[in-house]
Symmetry: C2
Subunit: 480 residues, 2 copies
Amino acid sequence: MTTTELDAQLRRVQGWIEANLDRHINRLQRLVRVPSISPTGQQMAEGAETTAQLLREIGCQVVEIVPTSGFPVVFGEWQAGQPYTLVIYAEYDVMPADEPAWKVKPFEAALVDEPGLGRVLMGRGARNQKGPLVSILNAVEALVALDGKPPVNLMFVFEGEEELGSRHLPEFVEKYADRLKRADAMLAPHTHMNRQGEGLLWAGSKGIIVMELEASGQKWGRGPVGADAHSCYKAFVDSPAWRLVQALATLVSPDGNRVLVDGFYDAVLAPSAQDDALLAAFQDRFNPDFLDMGITRHIEDVHGLELMRRFFYSPTLNINGLSGGYAGPGIKTLLPAAATAKLDLRYVPNQEASDLIAKLRGHLDRHGFPDVELRVLGQSDWSATPLTSPVVSAAMSAYRRMGREPQVWPRNPGSIPFWIFNRAPLNLPFASAGLGHAVRSHAPNEFIVVDGNAQVFGLAQFETSLAAILYEFAAASAHA
Amino acid sequence: MTTTELDAQLRRVQGWIEANLDRHINRLQRLVRVPSISPTGQQMAEGAETTAQLLREIGCQVVEIVPTSGFPVVFGEWQAGQPYTLVIYAEYDVMPADEPAWKVKPFEAALVDEPGLGRVLMGRGARNQKGPLVSILNAVEALVALDGKPPVNLMFVFEGEEELGSRHLPEFVEKYADRLKRADAMLAPHTHMNRQGEGLLWAGSKGIIVMELEASGQKWGRGPVGADAHSCYKAFVDSPAWRLVQALATLVSPDGNRVLVDGFYDAVLAPSAQDDALLAAFQDRFNPDFLDMGITRHIEDVHGLELMRRFFYSPTLNINGLSGGYAGPGIKTLLPAAATAKLDLRYVPNQEASDLIAKLRGHLDRHGFPDVELRVLGQSDWSATPLTSPVVSAAMSAYRRMGREPQVWPRNPGSIPFWIFNRAPLNLPFASAGLGHAVRSHAPNEFIVVDGNAQVFGLAQFETSLAAILYEFAAASAHA
């Protein structure tokens, strides 16, 4: 197809999607309404079955619910007889939605009017990741309806443990490696348009280690053992809760922002001049609060290029939650037998997880806290793709064709486990892209835009942008 | 009565109680089975009504459920026409019993066989304070049955907010001050016999301030405001949870045991040589784990006199509980908008609560944490009675008459609000005494002994010891 032909084709695609939009919305509602919450294990089987059903509906010749040692992977193949093949990766599991601030029931997938954006679909998973998962299926359905088949062969890998750190996705990849190696690249569809209508894409991801630190009388050999004690004993009995506080306090600077573990930053690749230039290209358009979480004040009031450098290139150590003793209403004067902090450590090229964990453990030991347990709950490595790769340039071309100059983020600052495709044994280049708008992952009132406005694309344009990437990937691969 | 007559009379009392023991046990079960949990407000009205009913059963001429701004005080008078008058103080409220380690239902008041102790009555409140409350009523019933009336006039003050820091007991005392001032002393019955059969008594109490510290984006003007954020923002957004940790860490020494707030210890009265001699008298018999909570290892491995000095004379700052962010199963990578620590501060003569709170607030401000909120949730002052007072010497005589040399504790290391009777406007001397054995206040599997063994008194001897104190108080007051 020439450029003009492709533009005309994308108009047809969008027209077809608009004519079928109610059905596309309903398809997303069907999946959001299944509370497939991997951290609690709730309705994961139903989530996998519904996802498989959607793959069948768009004409995949192969649809399998593949067991793993954890929750299953839903695998599908659309064998189009095309020269190039893309893996499409997303997850069908979501986080719990127990926050009291939800203004709708989080698993009803209600259509809600959002000021300035028209209708949005609000519910857990609308952004992360059920919205993008269903949207690419809808886009493929449109391509099949218009062309009889998609422009590239597709292998869908929809996992059920992303929110658990993709623990068993490597197991699946190993099992299916022969098939997956036939792919030329991986595409992770996502709602990468921000509130200003800017389109961004990711060519990498930060890594993450989720862990908990626990101080206990049991391990310490001091303080109450097993059961909490009456707090009058504090006069001559040690406190595991104070011990946890003191151990935690040694880990970071007084402002909570610099990690004080020896060698923690040693392997961090600082951004090169070229990297900085890439960031500077969209510095003025960069919206730090890309998840629309009401973040206004920054550490040390940094902004511009320095803020972007921290966001993309800095590892972090964060407290997810504190617990121990009595935290209910009123008063209960306990000397707790144990206290726990959940932490996440986000890390970057070329830091290594095992090295960081060893350094943390060593820090606690050297600071006199050998008894404070460090338990790793989950881990996902970082990843990186050259920006010259066809899958990245295809996404950039598709964005421009949809009228948006891309912001190329060197990496996702969250922790999508692209590394499982990006490293051995598959070594696939990848991009995470798509011009949809959605907000509030892991937070109350998560939504994806359905209608949109002059700046912000609605669902039909989002799906069209994903179709555009598939066309552009076929073209870019042919020219590479 | 001569000494010999009194001994004979106490044998009669104990015989009468033994003959009526099943009914006495049942009376205690009736009260324990009402879950009058003041921290949650559960069934407090039923708790007051049952308590009032018990006062009526033993013949009080006056029984009133006296409303306060909080939960009511149950007041009773046994007007015996005697020359001396004792106030009897206890509480009918209990702590929650939500600990998973309970091996019986905590509000069924089951009789359980406890190795070496025969039957015990297990349930929330068995020790703290329903056991002693019912036991003195049972003792009075025996005296009335045998003598027609008790040897002293009695005023019962049974409050419903002890576990909330006795917030409205001063309101009651002010309202009933004219009547209460007719009393000569206050007696707080308690299970003061330890597992070795030693009898102790208290002539004072530590004070307590219960508070919570909260760090929040809202107050700080940094970090997430209102809702928790996705933790990828940690790269450029401050963390209220780290802030709480750092603020807490400044409050105590690295071992968690010495308070580092300027001037915190200034007003502490160190034990005098006379005080030390008092402690040394029972140093060899002193059981630090008097609540039987499995405490074996002590701060700096202190023991003997030094341990006792800390227990009775040292103020403490303890963490009751930590909370904030996600503390459930699995993983939720949040940057929490707020984090909270509940603390209790136990203090001693001549420290003052308002001064200590101001010093804590000043410490946080000076260390750069003016935004960390300090909220006082409850407070109860310390108290002290001279050991030469008739009520203390009566208790000591009664113990010896029951065959036990008393351990005189200068103060209760917990926080029973004796100050409300001990300070203005009543200025009553007092003792907390009684030879019963019970364990695990505020903890799972709380119980009071019913049968006992050669060392440890059962319920009938406990009640007899309380009767002995009433007889001895009448005698000691006449000789004072």
